[in-house]
């Protein structure tokens, strides 16, 4: 408590000491030190203009999302029904099995939808586990979860810890597959932040994911999959919503 009081006192004393200088700066018209601040609203019209691949009206949110996701090394597959989502999962797992990432053992988050879908995926796998423990998760080849929202202008997924157990499933295995309903794609980061903070309480952990894990720490050479997944697949479901059921 002593530290708290002394830091707060120091802040107040130094701000008081600064007041005469602040007035001088304000009189000189120094815009950076104005005492009255008109901050406006960060999500005001002027500031929520879209970025990256633009949504020019001709392109749908899904197309913008897909283009931005591919630009950062992720894969986007659009499905128009539950059957097509299953077909997409089938294709992704089969192609992973042809790659060094194996794709033989699958860890699912605890979203009930995923078990239902995986039961109908034809590609043979060695094991499917629902929400394995953190320690076990290190041995799985693929993690599958849903995402609660997506941002088109940056190709970003939003996962919310209150919706399902996908904090580690989306992170630890070398490949992550996420299913997101097209209805949950927003154009801008600002809209998505607003959606995330709508409820009475923020979830303990909200994670934004934009593409696979990357680093350029060695000679600025891009390396993919340093701590997180090396491959990120997003299946966008354009059909009747699946993830809210």
């Amino acid at each position: 408590m002593a530290a708290r009081e002394s830091i707060l006192r120091s802040i107040r004393e130094h701000l008081v000491a600064s007041a005469p200088h602040d007035v001088v700066h304000a009189e000189k018209g120094d815009e950076q030190s104005e005492l009255t601040l008109d901050i406006g609203h960060p999500n005001g019209d002027r500031l929520s203009a879209s970025v990256g691949v633009q949504n020019d009206g001709a392109r749908s949110l899904i197309e913008v999302f897909g283009a931005n996701l591919e630009a950062v090394g992720g894969h986007c597959i659009v499905a128009r029904s539950e059957a097509e989502v299953i077909e997409a999962l089938n294709g992704i797992i089969a192609s992973l099995q042809d790659s060094p990432l194996r794709g033989r053992t699958i860890a699912l988050s605890n979203a009930p939808l995923l078990e239902r879908l995986m039961a109908r995926v034809e590609t043979r796998v060695d094991e499917i586990a629902v929400s394995p423990s953190a320690a076990e998760l290190f041995d799985y080849d693929v993690g599958i979860s849903t995402a609660q929202a997506a941002i088109a202008e940056t190709g970003t997924l939003m996962i919310d810890s209150e919706a399902e157990r996908h904090r580690l499933v989306s992170l630890v295995p070398p490949a992550h597959i996420a299913i997101v309903d097209a209805a949950n794609i927003r154009l801008t980061l600002g809209e998505t932040l607003a959606t995330a903070s709508q409820g009475p309480e923020l979830s303990p952990t909200i994670t934004f994911i934009t593409g696979p894990s990357r680093t350029a720490d060695i000679e600025l050479t891009l390396a993919i999959g340093v701590h997180g997944p090396q491959e990120l697949y997003v299946v966008v479901n354009e059909g009747p919503p699946l993830t809210n059921s």
Partner: protein, 512 residues
């Protein structure tokens, strides 16, 4: 290189200048990030508005920092976090070490955090018998090498892949390779073991939201997510200036920070952590501790000019833009915070006397101000600090001989944090310059004398090392032309030409 200090900046810089490998790496990094930043900023039509808005938000935070801190603490604690206050580095280290001991911690995983470098937290934890592993790839490399970060965003920018391969061979026993993907995957595997066994995760904080008690951490690798998800305890350390008032303010800063740092629209991951998990079966740590560090920051609030430095969001754009940093890199600054922003923050954190050379490590070209996403006027700050250093030197010199016998003298010197380099010659030169420049007659006379004197040393229209021919000024002025060319005084000055009948005879209509 980790023994370099701020007090020996001049010699550090000289050593860096002859390191051709370092300069090549710096050239690559700073120009690449510079170009990417520019492209990313141009991708947003309202970049300037965003900068103005970000600065306004930060100014509001700093002017009401006490209130916003209390709001943040109350909201974070309501949601299960425990907040600790640390006046200085040793208090912060004590808090973290005590928490670790209480939890019986043996193995600590850390994600990149400037503030933990600032307080030398790793040394303190190791002294308490704990093993600490840096998990950001760049930080891991320099930890293995026993070095210090040389860039805010790319800590191991000074090392080649060959040197990193040698390091990994020596310390991890791998086969020699210079394949970056292989080196990365070796680090991934080694660090996964560490993550699996860790009982404490330590991270920094990029932004803390007063309104919700949320902390936000940005990254590309995924090590922050592992650090903040796997161990049963998470400790996040932050400077008291990291606060933002409202959750929606994140929109502005998440647009500015990645674009300014690496030129990305967004970094790969953002973790927004608000308190602790709600049910025991949920994923994530059982405890979240947030350490608020002052360590000299509240002092900077005392003047609008110095206060600006607290708006910094640690993007590293000013490093990449700085012609001085581009040549000497981060180590020469001898401080955790290098580059232009380091030159203004470090002296304020550790004392002007201990870092009196840093505010001079700039050509005042203004490139840093141009790129700063929160519009910090770094040149203004540099001049402010230079003025303060000059004032203190004068005080010290006036105290002069009589001080040495006085008991109070030593205390005064300690307060200043050391002694300042005397610049008597410099002050004389500037007085002379001022005297000449303010008296037109004296000025014209000096020009004529100078023109006569320079005849013997002008080579191909320049004074300096021209084509191998020595055309230098005599010491002490030779210190300038030793490494630079100087323009000689013109054959006839503008005033002389004007008197001789020069008039503006260019026709504005035909400038082809």
């Amino acid at each position: 290189m980790s023994h370099l200090t701020t007090e020996t900046f001049d010699s550090n810089a000289r050593a860096a200048l002859v390191d051709t490998q370092l300069r090549g790496a710096l050239r690559n990094a700073t120009s690449l990030f510079g170009k990417r930043r520019l492209a990313a900023a141009r991708g947003l039509e309202n970049w300037e508005d965003l900068r103005t808005q970000a600065r306004a938000i930060k100014d509001d935070v700093l002017l009401h920092l006490d209130r916003y801190l209390e709001e943040f603490v109350s909201n974070a604690e309501q949601r299960g976090a425990k907040v600790h206050w640390a006046r200085d580095a040793s208090e912060a280290n004590q808090i973290v070490c005590d928490l670790a001991r209480q939890q019986g911690v043996r193995n600590v995983v850390k994600s990149k955090s400037m503030v933990t470098e600032e307080i030398h937290l790793n040394d303190a934890l190791q002294a308490s018998g704990m093993e600490v592993i840096e998990t950001d790839l760049g930080e891991y490399i320099i930890q293995l090498a026993g070095e210090a970060p040389s860039h805010i965003i790319v800590p191991a920018i000074h090392k080649t892949k060959g040197q990193i391969a040698e390091l990994f061979t020596a310390k991890l026993g791998i086969e020699p390779t210079d394949d970056v993907d292989k080196l990365t995957s070796v680090a991934r595997n080694v660090l996964r073991q560490r993550f699996a066994n860790a009982d404490l995760g330590i991270s920094g904080v990029n932004f803390a939201v007063a309104e919700t008690g949320t902390i936000l951490i940005l990254e590309n690798e995924g090590n922050v997510r592992l650090t903040t998800s796997l161990p049963k305890v998470h400790i996040a350390l932050m400077g008291i200036e990291k606060i933002l008032p409202r959750f929606v303010d994140l929109d502005v800063f998440l647009k500015l920070l990645p674009r300014s740092g690496t030129g990305q629209q967004l970094t790969t991951y953002q973790s927004l952590i608000t308190g602790t998990k709600r049910r025991p079966e949920d994923e994530g740590p059982e405890q979240l501790h947030i350490v608020l560090l002052d360590n000299g920051r509240s002092r900077m609030l005392a003047h609008p000019t110095t206060r600006q430095a607290l708006a910094c969001i640690r993007c590293g754009a000013c490093l990449n833009a700085c012609p001085v940093y581009q040549q000497i890199g981060g180590h020469a600054y001898g401080s955790v915070y290098p580059g232009p922003i380091g030159a203004v923050i470090t002296p304020q954190l550790i004392g002007l006397g201990k870092a009196s050379q840093l505010p001079y490590a700039s050509s005042l070209c203004g490139a840093c101000r141009e790129v700063c996403p929160v519009k910090i006027d770094i040149p203004e700050l540099l001049l402010h600090l230079r003025a303060e250093i000059t004032d203190r030197k004068q005080e010290q010199e006036q105290a002069g001989g009589r001080r040495q016998e006085q008991a109070g003298g030593r205390r005064q010197e300690q307060e200043a944090g050391g002694s300042f380099k005397k610049r008597t010659g410099e002050r004389f030169a500037f007085r002379l310059f001022a005297a000449v420049m303010t008296r037109p007659r004296t000025y014209e006379f000096s020009v004529k004398v100078g023109r006569l004197l320079q005849r013997s040393i002008v080579r191909r229209g320049k004074i300096g090392r021209v084509g191998g021919m020595l055309a230098q000024l005599a010491p002490p002025l030779g210190a300038w032309t030793n490494a630079r060319d100087m323009r000689p005084i013109a054959e006839s000055t503008f005033r002389e030409q004007w008197r001789a009948g020069l008039r503006d005879d260019t026709d504005p209509g035909s400038d082809t």
